[in-house]
């Protein structure tokens, strides 16, 4: 056991060296790991979605493939791979192919600035080994906002390149929806950034340390951000881009085989990333209030990191369950209702939230509390 631990320590120590080669190898390794984790989580989510929806409708859900139907996603992927890959005659072939790739790539690449756990000390010099792909980006939050905006391209291009009016409608709806909700999403965020005083994900998390989570100080901001991320991920009740009773399948009407599979996967990957971002911003990230005081764990130890991973994933999965739960409870919004909510309710509320947060912070500073 000791020799294994020593080898792992030596490998991590080598990887943590600040050389170009080591950083390159480490980033590729972490990237591959993140990719695999998100794909497994997405597959699990597909299973969870079907199970939860079944339970909410007095059904059983998938229960034939593997124990509790757990291998169902695997069977689904096999099916998608063996299906014929059709692209319409009049489609723009290049963009038709590119759109699902953009969707899934954006959904996954957001995760590189998300921090599931801090670091452990490795080697004799106590070098810090970080667990996120890009651990110390000082504009982390901006990267996330920028990448989510690019995510619209995948859906819009898919709708446009299919050369089908239903697809185009879906694509246009989605771009309109995502742009109008991005606004209130960004504004709802500002309250959090004011409290943290930084765009760095590390600072945002440490500002919430020991149970001082932003959800308690920014409940309105949390609700607005939550609703906006439902709209951003095109999930019910905001799934107008793919509204099947009106638009057949929206932007992915003309997709089949694994290209459709990528869109399907991107939806769940997007859910996972939104949950991770929500956790970081409002639920204190990896912060477990009891870890330091009750268990006496120190920063940089392996046990601490494991506790952090556990808390982070527990929070993320609670949010993911909430995403699924809401989908099977609420009916879809009408298009004008969606725009009304976005522009007439959420936008003024998020502006008011900034004003109130600023005012309260100013008052607290005046009395010397903050």
């Amino acid at each position: 056991m000791d020799s294994i631990a020593q080898t792992i320590d030596a490998v991590l120590y080598w990887l943590a060296q600040p050389n170009i080669l080591n950083i390159l190898v480490l980033s590729v390794a972490k990237g591959g790991l993140v990719l695999n984790i998100i794909l497994v989580i997405a597959a699990f989510l597909v299973w969870l979605e079907r199970k939860v929806s079944a339970w909410m409708q007095y059904r059983d859900g998938p229960n034939r493939v593997g124990p509790f139907g757990l291998l169902q996603p695997l069977a689904d992927v096999l099916k998608l791979y063996t299906k014929e890959d059709i692209s319409p005659k009049n489609a723009d072939k290049f963009f038709h192919r590119l759109a699902p790739v953009i969707s899934i790539a954006i959904a996954i690449s957001i995760l590189c600035v998300v921090i599931p756990a801090t670091y452990i000390y490795v080697g004799p010099e106590k070098l810090k080994f970080y667990f996120s792909v890009a651990p110390n980006v000082n504009v982390g939050m901006l990267v996330i906002l920028a990448l989510t905006s690019i995510g619209v391209f995948g859906v819009t291009l898919a709708g446009w390149s299919s050369n089908n009016k239903y697809s185009l409608m879906g694509g246009l709806r989605s771009s309109a929806q995502m742009i109008s909700y991005e606004l209130s999403m960004g504004l709802a965020l500002i309250g959090v950034l004011m409290i943290a005083g930084s765009l760095d994900m590390n600072n945002i998390i440490t500002s919430q340390a020991n149970g001082k989570w932003n959800i308690f100080f920014q409940p309105l901001g949390f609700i607005i951000f939550l609703v906006a991320s439902f709209a951003e991920t095109n999930r019910a009740p905001f799934d107008l881009p793919e509204a099947e009773p009106e638009l057949v399948g929206g932007y992915h009407t003309e997709y089949s085989g694994m290209k459709f599979g990528l869109f399907y996967l991107a939806e769940y990957a997007n859910m996972a990333t939104s949950s991770a971002v929500l956790t970081t911003l409002f639920l204190g990230g990896y912060d477990a209030p009891f870890a330091k005081e009750l268990l006496g764990l120190q920063d940089g130890t392996l046990l601490m990191v494991l506790v952090q991973f556990g808390t982070f994933f527990a929070k993320v999965f609670a949010l993911l369950f909430f995403f699924i739960w809401v989908r099977w409870t609420l009916p879809r919004f009408r298009y004008d209702q969606l725009m009304n909510l976005g522009w007439k309710v959420m936008l003024p509320l998020s502006l008011a939230n900034i004003l109130v947060t600023g005012g309260v912070m100013l008052l607290l500073k005046q009395f010397g509390i903050l």
């Binding site: 079944a54 059904r59 739960w325 809401v326």
Partner: protein, 166 residues
């Protein structure tokens, strides 16, 4: 004329306009449903037993002495889907002189209307309780006498139903 009524009772209250409390109510309702047992019947393991009134696959009644059918061909004549084919033959061995030497029902054509059963003077063809009828080819869908003949003991419930309501 476009008449719209908007009485105080129809107007939403403040809390209803706020959406959020109503959403929470809905969420609680679905969460409660999650804890309740499912209504799914796990089909191949757990089968549904139909009542006597159920119109499943039509079968020929077989008694100890032999089949009841006298090959009159009425069922074949009445069948709206032209699914039944009967070829009569004669015999001296039994009290009934006619019997079907070929009796075929094409199960791809059968619409389970039950006219054959209604028209049969001998109560020789009745609807059974079989509802999972599967085959791999069109040829296999044509059921011959070997598949149609069913002992009378297994059809008691249907025969009693017919005596009561037909």
């Amino acid at each position: 004329m476009n008449v719209t009524t908007n009485t105080a009772a129809q107007r939403l209250t403040f809390w209803e306009k706020l959406y959020l409390p109503e959403i929470v109510k809905g969420l609680v309702s679905t969460l409660k449903t999650m804890a309740k047992p499912s209504m799914t019947r796990r089909y191949p393991e757990e089968r549904w037993e139909p009542l006597g009134s159920y119109r499943g696959r039509p079968v020929l009644v077989q008694e100890e002495s032999g089949e009841r059918c006298v090959a009159c061909g009425l069922c074949s004549r009445v069948c709206p889907a032209l699914a039944i084919e009967v070829r009569a033959a004669e015999t001296m061995e039994r009290d009934k002189e006619r019997y079907p030497d070929l009796f075929e029902i094409n199960m791809l054509r059968c619409i389970y209307c039950g006219f054959c059963e209604e028209v049969c003077p001998e109560e020789a063809i009745v609807m059974s309780k079989d509802y999972d009828i599967v085959f791999h080819s069109q040829e296999a869908a044509i059921f011959g006498k070997d598949q149609l003949l069913t002992p009378v003991a297994r059809l008691q419930e249907r025969l009693e139903f017919l005596r009561q309501y037909k």
